[in-house]
């Protein structure tokens, strides 16, 4: 079967109509890409660039979601719920047991402070219990922050 490389979506409708074949092939075969080929970039993002950034942030946040919830009233995990975090002092989400270091940090969570913290939490606040989840890529941090902000707006 000849396969075109890097074709985002190729639908082959099988011509066989014989359903009594003991081992029929696919009736529909959607080839997204071939093994080894680079992942296909989204062809277009519907809507404005800001929502694209939020969408990317949501994808990046999948990693953060192992510890943090972002939905209102969702329980704390290994890290606190981040709903409505912007503008609040550090270490004030109820029900979460913070490190002494973060409680003493005096940080008010602005986008800039959050950006600095998630770039390298233990460097910004030595003694924090957030020892994993640092995001080195500035673009990804911007996307996550945009996503967190959007979650407040919803």
């Amino acid at each position: 079967m000849a396969l075109a490389r890097n074709i985002a979506c190729l639908v082959i409708l099988a011509l066989t109509a014989c359903s009594s074949d003991p081992a029929p092939g696919p009736t529909e075969q959607i080839i997204v890409r071939e093994p080894g080929a680079a992942p296909v970039q989204p062809v277009a993002v519907i809507g404005d660039p800001a929502s694209a950034l939020v969408a990317e942030g949501k994808a990046v946040f999948a990693n953060c979601s192992a510890c943090h919830a972002v939905e209102q009233d969702a329980p704390n995990g290994a890290g606190p719920n981040l709903f409505g975090i912007f503008g609040k002092p550090a270490a004030e989400v109820s029900g979460f047991s913070y490190s002494d270091a973060l409680q003493a940090s005096g940080i008010i969570w602005t986008t800039a402070e959050l950006d600095g913290y998630i770039a390298n939490p233990t460097a910004k606040v030595p003694g924090t219990t957030m020892v994993s989840g640092a995001i080195e890529d500035a673009a990804k941090r911007a996307a996550v922050i945009a996503y967190l902000e959007s979650s407040m707006a919803n």
Binding site: P22, A23, G25, P26, T27, Q29, I30, V32, E34, P39
Partner: protein, 746 residues
């Protein structure tokens, strides 16, 4: 096409004694003995599969001896936790007088030459009594038939009692006699003066002693013994010993390779979802989200199932979960469990007193029932059960260039290979099947649905694909132990003796003797079945039909005992009066359990007795009913499998059968609603927890070393009735429907 089809009938006449026990001259210095070599056997194909050294060529074989005095037992069965590699190797090594510490084990490749003629014989001619398996015409004919059935099969508790007893021991004894003959020739002494022990050949009077390896090559040129002499039990050195299982180290250190561990360069992963109603087809799929998801390579509508192929399994499963699928309508879309049991009842009602298919009849059950002093009637029900193997169903396949490789864990590797060939549209010879350890079989892995699905996916993609079923898929797409309803009528005479027994039940799958009770002396009996259509797929489930009928029969026997005003143990003793071997098993279970001695309040003992798969097993369960749920405290087991080859392994099988059977008795239920299986994972199809596992005490009885029974299944059938009979003893509540979780004991 397969080799089965190409074997021409004309070859039948060419079977000879010589051919049936084959031996091979081996380049280098290895002796190989096989018991199923046929003329014109294309042995070259086997060499790459079995040869381990450059100077070694291997014939189709059961045992080989190589230059460093290692004896390798080639095992034509699969290891699924039951310890069969070790037990079969013990049988071969003992007859050969091999040094157990120098025995290696190799699973036979999926090839027709390794199909078990012994199993074929028992399946096809269970009553055939041929003293030696070398009788050429009979054995040859059976081998061909067994090949036709693709019986390189592990199940039916057959391995030790059939392959071990008939093939492994014979191969070991033949190899030993050939080695002795070679030494006798070399040393110029009578063979009768030569002895063997610990892989050494000894001529005591001249002080000569050499390892097997020294004579391996010469032995291969010896005439094959037509009927090697097998040891009698007093001479067993390895059989009967609790040898440590061969597979312990790799299963402890994690290096054991199971089917799901297959690792093929370049392989991708597939997650699958089949139509939830059996017989429904995929009408359309909406994969608009799935095709944008990370790692996704292909989305396949295969007609009967949907597959997503991705770089990783998690990616494939996540993408699959987003696909919106429409299925075709079927006649079974409305079916639910209550309606199914109502259907069973309607079919049983229609069969009435005379209808249905007769299974066995003796005397005049109707008249004896009518004239009985006491009459007992009862109806019992059991649900569908899933297998819930720890290793979910999976298969890795690669179809390319007119060839196909398949990796999985299967109870019948030859069947798996044929299934892959059919699915790929290739000849049997073009398929290589690689079997690995089974992470649980219980009968589920005798089906080839997973093999076919993976091969079809791999054929569509062209690259190697590992298909793994989610636990949800594994639970909802099983081949289930049938649900069933069984009705009984029993009659007792003035003395409270059972004189009449009538039973009619739904379904009969396998084995055919499961609903019968020839060991109980009830003069008038009639046992019938009715087949009721259900859309669910049935499959063998550990102990197969004995799992239902053990519960049915032993519950009703208990009800009859109660109606007769007799103790359950004493009542069964009367029924077994003419069968000393059976009686000994029952008596032993009663004795070790302290039957009849006082128990704490709200505790009860129940006894059950079920011979199955050639073994006789009685169990006494001790149950604590003081809480809201039954707590099984201890189970006493007496078992007579003829002769216990490996006591440690056999006891482990009794224990695991109790764990598996108690899981089913307490919780096991697959139910149908809107044509779909309602359960999906361990939260609603729970397993016995370790804190619920009763203490198990096993007494072993070697009742007849010439008639071995199985070990994998016979421990299961008695546990459910032993427990429910104990519940009756403790509470007066008779359980007639499983699982116990349906009942309230508050």
């Amino acid at each position: 096409m397969s080799e089965t089809a190409t074997a021409s009938p004309a070859k039948k006449g060419k079977w000879t004694r010589r051919a049936f026990i084959g031996a091979g001259v081996v380049a280098g210095s290895a002796l190989v003995v096989g018991v199923a070599v046929r003329p014109g056997n294309p042995i070259d194909r086997l060499n790459p599969l079995l040869a381990s050294g450059e100077n070694e060529q291997l014939l189709n074989a059961w045992v080989k001896v190589d230059a460093d005095n290692i004896v390798t037992a080639v095992i034509p069965h699969v290891e699924m936790g039951q310890g069969v590699y070790t037990a079969l190797a013990q049988m071969l090594a003992d007859e050969m007088d091999a040094d157990w510490n120098k025995v290696r084990i190799l699973e036979a490749p999926a090839d027709m030459q390794y199909v078990s003629d012994s199993i074929g014989r028992d399946f096809l001619f269970p009553n055939l009594d041929v003293p030696a398996i070398f009788e050429p015409t009979v054995a040859g004919g059976i081998l061909e038939l067994a090949q036709a059935m693709g019986l390189q099969f592990t199940g039916g508790s057959y391995s030790v009692r059939a392959t071990g007893q008939r093939a492994m021991r014979t191969a070991g004894a033949a190899a030993r006699e050939m080695l002795v003959a070679a030494a006798a020739s070399e040393w110029q002494v009578p063979a009768s003066e030569i002895s063997t022990a610990d892989s050494m050949i000894v001529h005591a009077s001249s002080g000569r002693s050499e390892p097997f390896a020294k004579f391996a090559l010469a032995a291969a040129e010896q005439r094959l013994p037509a009927k090697p002499t097998l040891k009698s039990p007093e001479n067993y050195k390895i059989m009967g010993q609790p040898k440590a299982r061969h597979d312990i180290p790799e299963k402890v250190d994690g290096s054991a390779v199971f089917g799901i561990d297959a690792d093929v360069p370049g392989m991708k992963y597939a997650a699958v979802k089949a139509a939830p109603v059996v017989g429904a087809m995929v009408e359309s799929i909406d994969a608009s989200t799935a095709k944008t998801m990370p790692g996704v390579l292909q989305i396949l509508n295969m007609g009967d199932f949907v597959a997503v192929v991705a770089d990783g399994y998690w990616q494939a499963q996540q993408a699959l979960n987003t696909i919106d699928t429409r299925y075709s309508k079927t006649d079974g879309d409305e079916l639910d469990q209550d309606a199914l049991f109502a259907r069973y009842a309607a079919y049983l009602d229609e069969a009435g007193d005379e209808g249905g298919d007769m299974e066995t009849e003796s005397g005049d059950p109707a008249k004896s029932f009518a004239e009985a002093v006491t009459r007992v009637e009862a109806e019992y029900k059991v649900p569908f059960l899933a297998h819930a193997t720890m290793e979910p169903m999976n298969c890795t396949a690669w179809v390319r260039d007119g060839k196909c490789d398949v990796w999985s864990s299967h109870q019948a590797p030859v069947n798996a290979r044929q299934a892959a060939a059919d699915a790929a549209g290739l000849a049997f010879e073009d398929v290589t099947y690689h079997n690995a350890y089974l992470g649980g079989g219980f009968g589920r892995r005798s089906e080839s649905d997973n093999i076919i699905m993976a091969t079809r996916i791999a054929k569509a993609t062209g690259y190697p694909v590992k298909m793994i079923w989610s636990r949800e898929e594994d639970t909802t797409q099983d081949h289930y132990r049938p649900s069933a309803t069984s009705r009984f009528r029993g009659g007792l005479d003035q003395q409270g003796q059972a004189v009449s027994w009538s039973n009619i039940h739904t379904h009969l799958f396998d084995p055919k003797d499961a609903p019968t009770l020839p060991y109980y002396n009830i003069p008038n009996h009639r046992i019938r079945k009715v087949d009721v259509p259900t859309q669910l797929r049935f499959g063998p489930w550990r102990s197969v039909d004995h799992s239902q009928h053990g519960f049915f029969i032993e519950s009703f026997v208990d009800e009859m005992a109660h109606a007769a005003g007799k103790d359950g143990y004493a009542f069964r003793r009367e029924l077994l009066a003419g069968s000393p071997r059976h009686l000994k098993v029952l008596d032993t279970a009663a004795k070790i359990s302290g039957w009849g001695t006082p128990l704490p309040e709200k505790h009860g003992r129940g006894i059950a007795f079920v011979p199955s798969f050639g073994s006789i097993v009685a169990q006494v369960a001790e149950v604590d009913m003081s809480g809201s749920r039954p707590k099984v405290k201890k189970v006493y087991v007496a078992a007579d499998p003829g002769f216990v080859i490996n006591p440690d392994g056999f006891i482990a099988q009794m224990e695991s059968a109790i764990a598996y059977g108690l899981t089913a008795a307490l919780y096991g239920e697959i139910s149908i609603k809107d044509g779909r299986v309602q359960q999906s994972n361990f939260h609603d199809y729970p397993m016995l927890r370790i804190n619920e596992m009763p203490e198990v005490e096993v007494a072993l009885i070697n009742g007849d070393h010439q008639r071995l029974g199985g070990g994998g299944e016979p421990g299961l059938p008695p546990i459910a009735p032993a427990v429910t009979n104990a519940i009756f003893a403790a509470t007066g509540t008779r359980i007639r429907e499983l699982p116990l979780s349906k009942h309230s004991f508050a």
